[in-house]
Symmetry: C2
Subunit: 224 residues, 2 copies
DNA sequence: TTATTTCCTTGACTTTTATTAAGAAGGTAC
DNA sequence: GTACCTTCTTAATAAAAGTCAAGGAAATAA
């Protein structure tokens, strides 16, 4: 049943089996069906968790209905609510299981004493936090300095660079892409066909292919 | 000479005098003249520091010459280069002393063993990091969902709300404001006079006054 | 004081992005 | 197959943001 075990994550690899067992004792295992909200924006959610199975999207939503996907969490990823660190701080994003997902959760209450007791563990956690901070920083930069075309080119490269030249099914909807770059489906559609006009990609209603990595990289690097 | 002492900062308040002395022994004190660059974007800068005196601006710059002020650090604030946590990670912002500034710096090398040894210290540091993450999150939200007018209104409120009704000197230049909200001086100027047309502020070349907090708050809350 | 520099203001114009609306293609359920 | 639903596509239009250019006010230096 376990798809992903604690010891495989960098954050837990330094623990002995006994310690791991204790950590598991302190944790809650919880399964979320597809499209279930794990926590909402603004809620005081005091957990740190490991994605043992499935897939989670962290998303910001504006009251006008626009949304921005900030990060996605895969099997083996560790994430947290800010409330885990500072009581009373509301979630800066909502978390949604976009497949059936199993999380292993630790409440602040249970884990904090262990962290304070184990400086190495706490230190390793700061490193994870630093990585997340860099992620946020990159998004910030794109949003501040890059036009939509650049952000879209970057997204295409990040997601499909390794399959460059292959014809792929369009598994991300226009809305998905728009949410990842902070724009609208229409803009994404238009820019995709613009890329196509320039020969950078080939695209139709259901599939597409990257034909000129170089061009996309140029577009993505504008403003960098 | 010391304007700000270690023990005044929340991060260090739990240490005994002996420990504080040791921390000071491990640190480097460095003074930067006005407008000096403390570190550049992208550099592998492995320090955590306390601002003992002066004022530091953390800024992102695009090659096209636009810039975005991400945060400002006052006396007593603690900040760090990402390299302090993860070797090889380049600074996501540049740091500039915008007055004569004295920092107390700890290299990763010197402080990491102390953190690993002292879980409480490491835990307290994670809290600071969580706060910074929230800051970044708020900027992200504004940039993604709020138009320039909203971001500007928010800036005015954040900076001058408490002096609402008073006539103030315009100490922030248009460029300063533009950099804080990710826009251009012309846009800022235009929106300021637009606010003035609506009776929300009074403004001339050298001074201004907030006359309708409510109006500004409405504008700032659009998209929230 | 005069010269010089920095900063503010404005209008005209361009570019980018978003909105609205309509229709078509593909997939799914019956 | 037909009806229905979702997603994609495109055009027209509007709104927002940015750029360029010019001129003027204030501050600073000589």
């Amino acid at each position: 049943m376990t798809r992903f075990s604690l010891s495989e994550n960098q954050l837990f690899e330094k623990f002995s089996q006994v310690e791991l067992d204790h950590l598991i004792d302190c944790s809650i295992e919880k399964t979320y069906p597809e499209d279930q909200w794990i926590t909402h924006y603004g809620s005081d959610w005091q957990y740190l968790f490991l994605v043992e199975q499935g897939h989670v999207t962290a998303i910001k939503e504006s009251p006008e209905g626009r949304s921005l996907v900030v990060t996605t969490l895969e099997e083996g990823d560790v994430f947290w609510g800010v409330g885990f660190f500072k009581e009373g701080m509301g979630m800066p994003v909502a978390l949604i299981a976009d497949q059936e997902t199993r999380l292993r959760l630790w409440s602040r209450e249970k884990l904090q004493p262990i962290l304070i007791d184990n400086g190495q563990f706490a230190w390793d956690l700061t490193q994870l936090m630093a990585e997340r901070m860099m992620q946020a920083s990159r998004i910030l930069e794109e949003l501040a300095f890059q036009p939509v075309a650049g952000r879209l080119a970057h997204l295409l490269l990040a997601q499909f660079k390794d399959q460059s030249g292959d014809t792929m099914a369009r598994d991300l909807t226009l809305d998905d892409m728009a949410a990842r770059i902070g724009s609208t489906r229409e803009m994404v559609c238009r820019h995709l066909y613009q890329f196509s006009d320039k020969g950078a990609i080939q695209i139709n209603r259901t599939e597409f292919k990257i034909t000129d990595l170089n061009y996309l990289e140029n577009i993505a690097d504008k403003g960098k």
